[in-house]
Structure formats: C-alpha cells, structure tokens
C-alpha cells in the first residue's frame, strides 16, 4: 500500500516535471517579454504623468505628446504586460490542471511572437500618430485581427487539453480561466467589429468602448487573477480552499453581474437612459464576486501566517487579494449615481481605479504566480531574496500611492469641476499636486520592476541557484542573503516539492 502511494507520488512528480519541461520556452517567453513591456509601459507612465504637472517636459515632439504617451502607456500595460503575463500563467496552469503535457509549445511560441509583433506595431502606431482615439483600443485598426488570431493560436491548445483531460473533478481555477479565455474574444470581437467594421451611431460606439474597457478588467484580468490565486494559495499553503461552494457562488456572481458593467462612463451622454444606470449598478455589485473570492482566499491562507510571510508567491498573491478588496470598495464608492458618479466620471479616479485593478490586483497575483512557476520550469531557484523583497515593497508602496492619490485626488478634482460658479482653471489646477505624487509613485514602481526584470532575466538565462530549497523570505541573521544553500539537485523537480 505504502509503496503504491509513493509510486503514485513519483509518477505524479514525473508528470509535473514533464509538463513543466514541455512548456518551458513559451512560458518563459511570455513572462520575460511581458516584463519588458511592463518596463516600457512604466517609463511611458512616468513621462505622461510628468507632463500633467510640467507641460514643458519633453515638449514639442509629436511622438511624445501627452495624448499619445498616455495611450501608449495604458496599451503597453494591458496588451504588452497584462495579456502576456496572463498567457504564460494560464497556459501553464491549465496544462497542470488538465494533467497533460503541452504538445504545441512551438506553435504557442510562434503565436506569442506574432502577438508581440501586433503589440509593437500598435504601440509604434500610437506614438507615430495613427491611433484610433478609442480608449484602450488605440492601436491602428489593422492591428486587431493580428492580435485576435495570435490569441486563438495561443489559447486554443489549453481548451483542447481541457477537452481530452482524464476524467475527474473540475477545479474552480479551471472555471475561472476557461471563462476568461472565452469572454475575452467575445468582448474583443464585438467591440472591434462594431467600431471598426460596422460603423453605427458614434455615441453608442463610445458606449461600447466604455463597456469594452470595463469587460477587459472584470471579465479577463479579474477571472485570470482569481483563478490563479485559487490555484496558488492551496498549492503553497497545503490546505484545501476554505469553502468550495462559496468559490462557486463567487464565480457565477462574476459571470452574471459583470457583463452589464461599464456604460456608467457615459452617464448624461445621449444613449438610452437605462444603460448608464445598469452599468453603475453592476460595477457597484462587483463587491459580491470580489468579496466572496477574497474572503475565501484569505481564510485559506491566513490559517498559517508564517507561510504567507515567507513565501514570495503567497506574499504577492495576498497583497493582490487585498488590492482586490480595495478595488471592490472603490467600485462601490466611485459609482453611486447622483452622489459620487458625477465626481469620478471625468476625473483621475478612473485612472486610479484602472491602475489599482491592473497593477494592484492583477499584476500582484501574476508576480506571485511568476515566483511560483519560473523555478519549476527553469529548474533553478530565485537568486536573491533581497531582490524579491525590494520588488515587493517598492511595488506595494508605489501602487498604493497611485491608487489612494488618484482616487481621492480625482474626487477633489470632481468637486472642483462641479463648482460651476468658479472659473474652470480652479478645477483644472486641483489635479496638479496629485499628479506630482503619481509621478513619484511611478518612479517607485519603475525601480521595483528593474529588480524584477533583472532577476527574471537571470532566471531565464538559467543562472538561478541550483538547489532544491526554494528561496524564501525568512530573514535569518546568519544565513546568506541569497537563501539557504542546498543540495544541488540535478534530478530537478523529480523530488516532491515542499514549497
């Protein structure tokens, strides 16, 4: 009996190692090129934020004008970093969860290069002055088919693996990830076909664009991050999910509520009256799926605070979940029609909310996943505990500063905008002090990601530690800052991981 169990364990470990090996190249490609786009996006973010308070900064060059750098900054963050991090994590996780080696690694890798080509052409197009002027869809209009086709070529293999998986339980992470894989092309095709191919009423087009932005956050980045968190937390802490039925409830709440969100951005614009109100209601109700997932994940992890503190993966994931809670509170506070919606509709709060969801929630969970996945597929451990800590603290302080400053500064700005008896310049100047803080915060995040990018590159070059001891964040006084030295483990992940 016992030998049978240990034989099973060994077979399991072999299977996991072979899955990891089969996906090494595409996953590492997505993660490293994603991290490079993240760096580009942050640099563009620093430039455009600086222009808000110092309009003379890098002034007079067409390709660096605020309207273009701001658009390029967000598009690089979304399509360059966000989607590629999601691809790396989703492709790997769905292989693991379907217990199948990936047989299409070459194709995925090729499609990943095409995706990068599409994004590069798009960003250059925006900077060169060929942007479409539709927020988050600014890429010149020939880019979207490239992006869409490479998307299908990247994710379709995960669907195939899911279909041919060995019979058994479908885990909650698979629900979230497969739903995200299906929702994204639906949203993307709808928005692009209606806006680029079948022109209709221009105001309704703006409404669809607002819905597109909201759906990308709530129906792609949110489910990907939640699916990842539901995978990582039980895996690292070694505990089952606190309540599985609550997890299912949270998933269906997300699926039913969030497709309605988004059009509150057009409150007062000439579209049918019910649509902005529906959008505001749905966005407010985001707290239902958000809190049910967040409570569940926190309850699972909190049973052992020591592990959360020591594991880079869990520390980042938990910070991401706290980001999700703040995001849900902000969704409620910013979208109450007649109270706060008119203050947040055209202020920095919207940007604050976007950065909070894209970086404070989604990216943190992705960082957690990257700290988990990369040692498994490269069979090297992270080199430096200090790099991870700096990445964590600088990122946390940076994104917290942006979220707090932009959301509250946005409300202040909105109050100024509503004060119709004052000249407009009063309202315009309210944004300045907050934008200075946002520039500082982006510098923090830039610094933090320099550490991350260097560290990831070293891992990509397979220069990580050859050890079977994972790099933990325990601070011991006499240990090496780079973690324990361990047995050099050439057999790699055959040994059952304790991490």
């Amino acid at each position: 009996m016992l030998s049978e169990v240990s034989q099973n364990l060994e077979q399991d470990a072999v299977l996991r190692a072979s899955i990891d090996r089969s996906l090494r190249h595409p996953v590492m490609f997505f993660l490293t090129s994603g991290a490079a786009w993240l760096a580009i996006s942050i640099i563009l973010g620093v430039i455009s934020s600086a222009k808000v308070h110092t309009p003379g900064f890098l002034d007079g060059f067409g390709f660096l004008t605020y309207g273009r750098t701001q658009a390029a900054h967000l598009n690089a963050l979304i399509y360059g970093w966000g989607f590629q991090a999601a691809f790396g994590v989703v492709v790997w996780m769905l292989s693991r969860l379907s217990r199948q080696e990936c047989r299409a690694a070459g194709l995925i890798l090729t499609a990943g290069h095409i995706w990068n080509l599409g994004v590069s052409v798009g960003i250059l197009g925006i900077l060169a002055g060929y942007g479409t002027g539709m927020p988050w869809m600014e890429f010149p209009s020939f880019c979207w088919p490239i992006i869409l086709l490479s998307y299908f070529a990247i994710v379709v293999w995960s669907m195939v693996q899911f279909k041919v998986r060995p019979e058994g339980h479908v885990y909650i992470s698979q629900w979230y990830l497969i739903a995200a894989i299906i929702w994204f092309p639906w949203v993307f095709i709808t928005a692009n076909v209606l806006l680029h191919v079948m022109p209709g009423n221009p105001v309704m087009a703006a409404g669809i664009n607002a819905w597109f932005k909201s759906s990308i956050i709530f129906l792609f980045f949110t489910p990907v991050a939640l699916g990842t968190a539901f995978y990582l937390v039980p895996k690292v802490s070694g505990r089952p999910i606190h309540s599985y039925s609550l997890a299912q409830f949270g998933f269906w709440a997300l699926a039913v509520i969030m497709p309605w969100a988004g059009m509150q951005k057009l409150t007062g614009a000439p579209i049918p009256y019910f649509m902005p109100y529906l959008g505001a209601t749905a966005t407010i109700m985001f707290f239902i799926p958000a809190f049910s997932a967040a409570v569940n994940i926190l309850r699972t992890a909190i049973a052992d605070p020591e592990v959360v503190n020591n594991s880079p993966t869990l520390r980042f994931t938990m910070a991401g979940i706290i980001g999700l809670i703040i995001m849900a509170v902000a969704a409620v506070l910013l979208n109450i029609p007649g109270k706060s919606l008119e203050l947040s509709q055209f202020s920095m709060s919207g940007y604050g909310f976007e950065i909070l969801s894209l970086y404070g929630f989604f990216s943190f969970v992705m960082f957690g996943a990257i700290y988990f996945i990369v040692p498994r597929i490269t069979r090297r451990e992270w080199l430096s505990r200090r790099f991870i800590k700096w990445h964590f603290f600088l990122s946390t302080y940076g994104v917290a500063l942006i979220a707090i400053v932009a959301i509250f500064g946005g409300i202040q700005q909105g109050i100024g905008q509503e004060a119709f008896n004052q000249p407009w310049s009063e309202a315009a100047q309210r944004a300045l002090p907050y934008s200075i803080l946002i520039t500082f915060a982006w510098c923090f995040i830039l610094l933090s990601n320099i550490f991350f990018f260097m560290h990831l590159t070293v891992m990509w070059l397979r220069l990580g530690r050859r050890s079977s001891h994972p790099t933990l964040l325990t601070s011991s006084h006499h240990g090496s800052p780079h973690g324990d030295d361990g047995d050099i483990d050439n057999a790699g992940s055959i040994t059952v991981s304790a991490h």
Partner: protein
C-alpha cells in the same frame, strides 16, 4: 456540472447582457430617425449638423493626438452633473443674438463623426462648444482661427493662460523659408531671420474641426430638455 452545461450557462449569463446593452441598442441607434423641426421652433428644416471634408480629417487628428485624454465632449443634463450651469459650456449664457443658448448634448450632435469623443478625464475644459467660446469670448472681435493656431502653438503664451497644462502642439506647424512676401497665415512667433512659422495640413484640419464644435444650435422642442430657468427665450 458538465462542460456543456458550463458553456451554456456562461453563454447565457454573458449573452443576455451582450444582447441587451450592446447589440440591440447599437442596431437600433444605427440610423436615428431624423427629428423634424416644428413650426414654432423658429427655423424649418430637418435637424442635422454637417461634418465632412477637412472637419472629418480634423477629427482624426484630434483622436490621434489624444485630445480626448483631457477634454470631454459632453454637456451632461442636470441630473448627471453641473455642466449646464457653467456660463460657456452648454452654449453661451449671454449670446448677443440668441440670448442663452445653453443646452445639453443630444445624439444628433455627433452625426457624421466616426466616434463620439466623450472623453476620459477633464484635465482641460469641455469642448462641446469650444468654437462658440472662441468666437464669443476668447477671440472676441478677432480672427478665431488665428487665436486657435496661436493657442495650439503655445497654450501658455497669454498671461491669463500661464497656468495652462495643455501640451504645445508645435509639431503641427513647420518653419519654412520666406519666399517673397510672408505667407498670409504665418504665425507671429520669433524664428530665425528669413524664416516663418506656417501651418501643416494637420493643423488646418484640427482647427477646422475645433471650429466646428458648436453644439448649441437650436433644437426642435422635442429634443430640448433644458430646465426652464435655462430655456431659450
């Protein structure tokens, strides 16, 4: 739950919203029925603003340079904000000929545009009636085109606009050698001897577009929702 049920439930939960707030409204709004101007409204024609040629090109320059990141183009009704109460946003409160022309934005205001630039944030002012403001206030008694060119070249030139954070659009202008007499549309900015600042076609298109932003034309009474205190006399 089988995979088939999962996909079906997912498609239903998403598809209902998709049909209700995207597909059907988009289809229904594709061709708005023209609203007839009634006899009592003072004018008699079908209400449709015109936007073509250089104005349409200008909308593309507006989009490509990200003007919508800081400028909105919607005057919200009073239930959604205080835009209507600003003296020069929804129209001109004290227009010399028409009195108070302020009104909220309606769906016809964007007729002929590809995309309504509702806007992301208001780091700058609302531009729905920019052309009216320039003509009636900023460049009163002067050439509104010239005023806009100068403003785009250097938004902080005028002492009262020193605090403006609008970027300079110098790159929409070019410095060319003076051949014979200086061009009629050259701008009075200091450049080298024998050179002058002239316009690119992008600058012309953008300014045509900006000067088309007059969303306070009288509307048929069926479209006029202005509160009584603001109603046109």
């Amino acid at each position: 739950m089988s995979f088939r049920t999962f996909i079906l439930s997912l498609s239903t939960s998403f598809g209902v919203a998709w049909l209700a707030i995207i597909v059907i409204p988009y289809y229904k709004m594709r061709s708005l029925e023209p609203v007839l101007v009634e006899d009592g409204d003072g004018t008699n024609a079908v209400y449709i603003p015109k936007r073509a040629g250089r104005i349409a090109d200008g909308a593309e320059v507006y989009a490509a340079n990200g003007c919508y990141q800081c400028h909105s183009q919607v005057v919200r009704p009073t239930y959604a904000g205080n835009d209507m109460f600003r003296p020069d946003w929804g129209g001109i409160a004290g227009d010399e000929e028409r009195g108070d022309t302020r009104r909220e934005t309606n769906a016809f205001d964007f007729e002929g545009e590809k995309f309504a630039h509702i806007g992301v944030a208001r780091l700058g002012s609302d531009l729905s009636n920019l052309a009216r403001r320039v003509e009636a206030i900023y460049a009163k008694g002067d050439d509104p085109e010239k005023w806009l060119y100068t403003h785009l070249y250097n938004p902080r030139l005028k002492p009262e606009r020193r605090e403006s954070t609008c970027p300079s659009f110098r790159f929409l202008f070019k410095v060319t050698a003076v051949k014979g007499n200086p061009s009629a549309d050259s701008l009075p900015f200091p450049v080298e001897e024998g050179m002058e600042v002239t316009l690119t076609s992008d600058a012309r298109a953008l300014v045509s577009y900006l000067l088309s932003l007059k969303k306070d034309q009288p509307v048929p009474s069926s479209l006029n929702f202005s509160p009584p205190s603001l109603a046109t006399p």
